[in-house]
Every structure is written in structure tokens, then in C-alpha cells.
């Protein structure tokens, strides 16, 4: 079994997710069954095979070059418009340095 309770907690911490006791139990089962399925990839010998990271079908004619010129972006008002807590032109957040 690749995924146990401790591994779920470790991954949840990396992903900044809170996980309840019930979710932990469910995730152990589901993550293991999905990863077991994924294991079949190990039947293939991929030594020396280049990884494919993207599939943009470029030729010399269609590379995505553009002139490096400044252009205007969103105003401060627009950028802050969806902020859950803002003030003085900034996003507000809770204390970053904890006392713990």
C-alpha cells in the first residue's frame, strides 16, 4: 500500500488542504486504488524515451514570438475587485508569522 494515513497528512500539508478523519479514510482507499491502476505504466520499458511535456505543433513559421513592448494591464481597482479583504490598495491577509 503506497498511501497510508501519515502519507495522506503529508500530501495534504503540501497541498494546503485540511483533511477530516472521514476524508482521510476515504482518500486512503481511493488513492491506493487509482495508483494501483496507474502502476500498469511500469510494464512499459521507457528507457531512452523523451518525455512529452507539451503538444504545441510548431513549425518555423508559427513560433510564438512577439515584440517585447510594454502594454497596460489591469487597474489597481480591477485587480482588487474580487479580493475578499482589501484596504489601502492592498489585499489583506492574516498574520504571516505565527506565534506558535
Amino acid at each position: 500500500m503506497k498511501i497510508d494515513g501519515a502519507r495522506v497528512d503529508y500530501i495534504a500539508n503540501l497541498a494546503q488542504l485540511a483533511v477530516t478523519e472521514e476524508e482521510r479514510r476515504e482518500l486512503i482507499g481511493q488513492m491506493n486504488s487509482i495508483l494501483d491502476y496507474v502502476e500498469q505504466l511500469n510494464r512499459l520499458d521507457t528507457s531512452g524515451i523523451e518525455p512529452t511535456t507539451q503538444v504545441v505543433h510548431t513549425t518555423e513559421q508559427n513560433y510564438s514570438w512577439r515584440a517585447d513592448q510594454p502594454r497596460s494591464g489591469f487597474s489597481q481597482e480591477q485587480s482588487l475587485g474580487n479580493g475578499p479583504a482589501t484596504g489601502s490598495g492592498h489585499f489583506k491577509v492574516p498574520k504571516v508569522i505565527s506565534e506558535k
Binding site: A15, L41, N42, P51, Q78, K95
Partner: protein, 481 residues
């Protein structure tokens, strides 16, 4: 006015000849939505005044004697992961429930210039993660042909809106089949263009190496017309390419005699239900009658496609969704503690179970010690799958398969078994892994009256051939609107 038979060309004609105004057409569809949508639940939200303003603009152009743009007055549903300035964009998620788009997606700007009218935002699986639209945080959408069945997903709202004639066309997004599979389930046409054909600026990202925007409609002609409008280079999306945009609709209607159609041998073994198999065999016969050559081809790595796809899609999703942290937009749960507590509690309250599962798995396969075994491995197998298709396309012009191995399933049938839901994507995901275009179009019904879809896949930027063959098929098979 018979709303069920309207197409983009007919609507433009009605307005041009003064037989109907854009406002009248828009109102007719708004009435239809009021009648039908309480049951189908295809729309998450709509703004009737906003839609009417767009229709009025078309009517003013008509009165002023200006030439009408190509999609004038076309009533469309837009999947709710595409931004329309001033409207909410929820992605079917609690975390974006109150997010108001500050700008238009490029596809929205282009459709608006072409005269389209946006009726409302269509339901989806949360962040487009799912194959049934049951993962929406707000409501499940129902299949317009049977309320007990799912419309497919993740663009289930877009497909159901078109299938129920609450919109003439729609935009969806396709990361692993999310346009084609719901199109098949709802008895409409849906197309995923070549990766980089359509700008994704203003699409909320899920799997960046896989995502593509595309149209859903009742006939291939409307698909061609919409695709032409939304295609082409966009300086705001570096993955969009400066490849000429042909007049897709202009190429329809030509004979397809001599076209080489590949039937992947492996697809015959992949758990296709008897009813689907019967319809697809009849479809292949139709292509033969149209003078096409049917050729068996091999795609030997087909069995590995789902595992490859889910590793890559989950890894990309976990990175893309890291931005939802309650700071700049979206739900914030302040929590009792520090910044990290706020991140966790906001994400915990905002994301649904499937999204969390994929973030967890994606984070795992990218984590130290596992990256090579899972993520790198999947990217290498992706290369092998790509080579399979390159080899097949040496011998054939198109590949044909079912869109989905089964007809629409029932609501609740697969919700407790994520893996069985993933397995239903077997025929669609390879097009995303390889970056090629694919279309699903109606291919008859099951004995119970549920739609079955047939899928055509083409080469990179092979949309003209895909569309030409699809058009000939729907005309000859009596599936045209």
C-alpha cells in the same frame, strides 16, 4: 418560430430579411429556458437584460443598414469556466461562487464581434473535473432525453442546453473528452479543435497541456461557422499559433470518396456495449457507402492512455489550483490562526471531493521521491501514444471510434467509484494527449431512445477534413438538423 430547427445561418437570414428581430429570437429562447431549465438544470446563472442588450445591438445594425456579422443573433450558452466581463464565473465551485469576471475571454470577444448573444453560463463538473456534471457544487444537470440519465461531462450544461433547444449553440472545454462525450450523450455535435488552434485566454485553467475550447451545436455547419470565429493566433495566449484559419464552412459538401478511414483494432476490445457497437458498425457502413476506404490500424499503447492521462491531468490540476488560496479572489474562511490556517480552511470549504482527490493525487505524483516513477513515466508514455497516432496517420486520413463505450448512464451510477468514471473516457482522452482535433456527432439511438455518438479524429490542424467527413456523414445518415 420553430426554435428546434434554428441554425446560425437561418437566424441570420431571419434577421436580415426582417422576418424576426434578434430581440424576438433572444426572448423566445429565454422563455424556453424559463420553461425547461427548472428540470434540465443546464444553466448555473443567466442575465436576461445582458443578453437582450446584445440582441438589441444586432437589431440596431439591421435598422442602420449595416452588414450583419456572420453569427448575428445566435443564442449561445457559455460554459461557466469561461470569463464574460461583468458576469460571475463559478467553475461549478463554491470557491468561486461570487467571482465576477474582470475581463472577457478572447473567444468571448471574438464571438461578440461576430454577433453572438450570450444567454447564460452553463453548468459543469467542478473545475471541469468529471464525466457526468454531477460534480457541480450547485446542481446536477439532467439529460434532455431522459431526466434519470446524466448529460455527460464536464461540459454537461452546454450540451444539455443545446440538446434541449434552450440555446442554438454553446461553448465547452475539453481536457479529456469534456466536449465530445456530453455532445454524444445529449445527441448534439461537439468539437475539440487542435491544441493551440483556439486561444485559451480567459479560460480557467485545469490541465494546461490538455485544455482546449470548442463549440457544441446541432449540425456540423454551425460547428464550422463558430470554429472559424474563435480560431487563430492571440497575443494573450502564447500557446495559440499563427496558423491560417480556413473557411471551414466553405469546405463542407464536397464528396469524401476515397478518404482513408482508420479503425483502431484496440478500440474493439475496450468494453464497448452491444448497443453502441451496433450503431458504430452501421456508421462505418455509411462511410463505406460514401466511398471511403476502411482500414484497420494499430494503436498499441491504447491500454495505457487512461493511466497516462490521469497522472498528467492531476499533476497539472494540482499546480493550477494552487492559486485558490483565499487571498486575491474567491472564498476566504478567515480561521482562527495564521495565514496557513486561512489557506487550508478556505480550500477545505471551497473545493468538492473530486477536486480535492485530484489535487491530492497530483501533489503526490509531483512530490519528491515519486516524480520520476509517476509523472516523468507518464510523460514518456505520452510520447509512445503520440508515436502510435503519427504512425496511424501515415496510413489514414481519419480515425473513427465510438465517442463513449456506453450510452448515457444513470445519475448516481458512478459517483462512488471514481475509477469507473475515469474508464469511460477511453476513446476521447488520447486526442488531448496527442493534441489532435476530434468531433463527436449523432449516430442513431439505442432501443431506449438514448443518443449514441460517433467520434472522428484528424491530424494536427486537420479540422477541414474532420468537418468535411462529419458533414457528409450527418447528411447521408439523416442526422442533420
Amino acid at each position: 418560430m420553430d426554435l428546434n430547427s434554428l441554425t446560425a445561418r437561418k437566424i441570420r437570414g431571419l434577421i436580415e430579411r426582417g422576418e424576426a428581430s434578434a430581440v424576438e429570437i433572444c426572448r423566445a429562447f429565454q422563455d424556453r429556458i424559463r420553461e425547461q431549465d427548472p428540470e434540465v438544470q443546464a444553466f448555473l446563472h443567466y442575465d436576461n437584460d445582458f443578453a437582450l442588450e446584445q440582441a438589441e445591438r444586432i437589431d440596431r445594425m439591421k435598422h442602420a443598414g449595416e452588414p450583419l456579422p456572420e453569427l448575428a443573433g445566435l443564442p449561445m450558452a457559455i460554459k461557466d469556466n469561461l470569463l464574460i466581463r461583468g458576469l460571475r464565473c463559478t467553475c461549478g465551485s463554491r470557491i468561486l461562487e461570487n467571482f465576477v469576471a474582470p475581463y472577457n475571454a478572447t473567444v468571448i470577444d471574438r464571438l461578440a464581434s461576430a454577433g453572438a448573444v450570450f444567454l447564460g453560463k452553463a453548468n459543469l463538473d467542478e473545475y471541469a473535473m468529471g464525466s457526468s456534471t454531477e460534480n457541480s457544487a450547485f446542481q446536477p444537470t439532467r439529460n434532455p432525453h431522459s431526466r434519470d440519465h446524466v448529460p455527460g461531462g464536464s461540459s454537461g450544461g452546454s450540451a444539455a442546453a443545446v440538446g434541449a433547444h434552450m440555446a442554438v449553440a454553446a461553448l465547452g472545454t475539453d481536457t479529456g473528452g469534456s466536449i465530445r462525450q456530453p455532445a454524444s450523450f445529449c445527441g448534439v455535435v461537439g468539437m475539440k479543435p487542435t491544441y493551440s488552434r483556439v486561444s485559451r485566454y480567459g479560460l480557467v485553467a485545469f490541465g494546461s497541456s490538455l485544455d482546449q475550447i470548442g463549440p457544441l451545436a446541432h449540425g456540423v455547419e454551425d460547428i464550422a461557422g463558430i470554429l472559424k470565429v474563435i480560431s487563430g493566433k492571440d497575443p494573450l495566449d502564447a500557446t495559440s499559433l499563427a496558423v491560417d484559419v480556413p473557411d471551414y464552412a466553405g469546405g463542407l459538401g464536397q464528396p469524401i470518396e476515397g478518404l482513408r478511414i482508420g479503425i483502431p483494432r484496440e478500440y474493439r476490445q475496450s468494453g464497448v456495449s452491444e448497443t453502441v457497437r451496433t450503431r458504430i458498425e452501421a456508421g462505418l457502413k455509411l462511410f463505406q457507402d460514401l466511398g471511403c476506404d476502411l482500414i484497420e490500424v494499430d494503436l498499441p499503447h491504447t491500454d495505457y492512455a487512461i493511466a497516462t492521462y490521469y497522472v498528467i491531468a492531476m499533476a497539472e490540476a494540482s499546480s493550477n489550483l494552487a492559486r485558490y488560496d483565499g487571498v486575491r479572489y474567491g472564498l476566504r474562511i478567515p480561521g482562527q490562526g495564521d495565514l496557513s490556517d486561512m489557506y487550508r480552511e478556505s480550500r477545505d470549504a471551497g473545493f468538492g471531493a473530486e477536486v480535492k482527490r485530484r489535487i491530492m493525487l497530483g501533489t503526490f505524483v509531483l512530490s519528491s521521491g515519486y516524480y520520476d516513477a509517476y509523472y516523468l513515466k507518464a510523460q514518456q508514455v505520452r510520447t509512445l501514444i503520440k508515436r502510435d497516432f503519427e504512425a496511424a496517420f501515415q496510413k489514414v486520413d481519419l480515425l473513427v471510434s465510438p465517442t463513449s463505450p456506453t450510452p448515457p448512464f444513470r445519475l448516481g451510477e458512478k459517483t462512488n467509484d471514481p475509477l469507473s468514471m475515469y474508464l469511460s473516457d477511453i476513446f476521447t482522452i488520447t486526442a488531448n494527449l496527442v493534441g489532435i482535433p476530434g468531433i463527436s456527432l449523432p449516430c442513431g439511438r439505442t432501443p431506449e431512445g438514448m443518443p449514441v455518438g460517433i467520434q472522428l479524429l484528424g491530424k494536427h490542424f486537420g479540422e477541414p477534413v474532420v468537418l468535411k467527413a462529419a458533414h457528409a456523414f450527418e447528411q447521408a445518415g439523416g442526422f442533420a438538423p
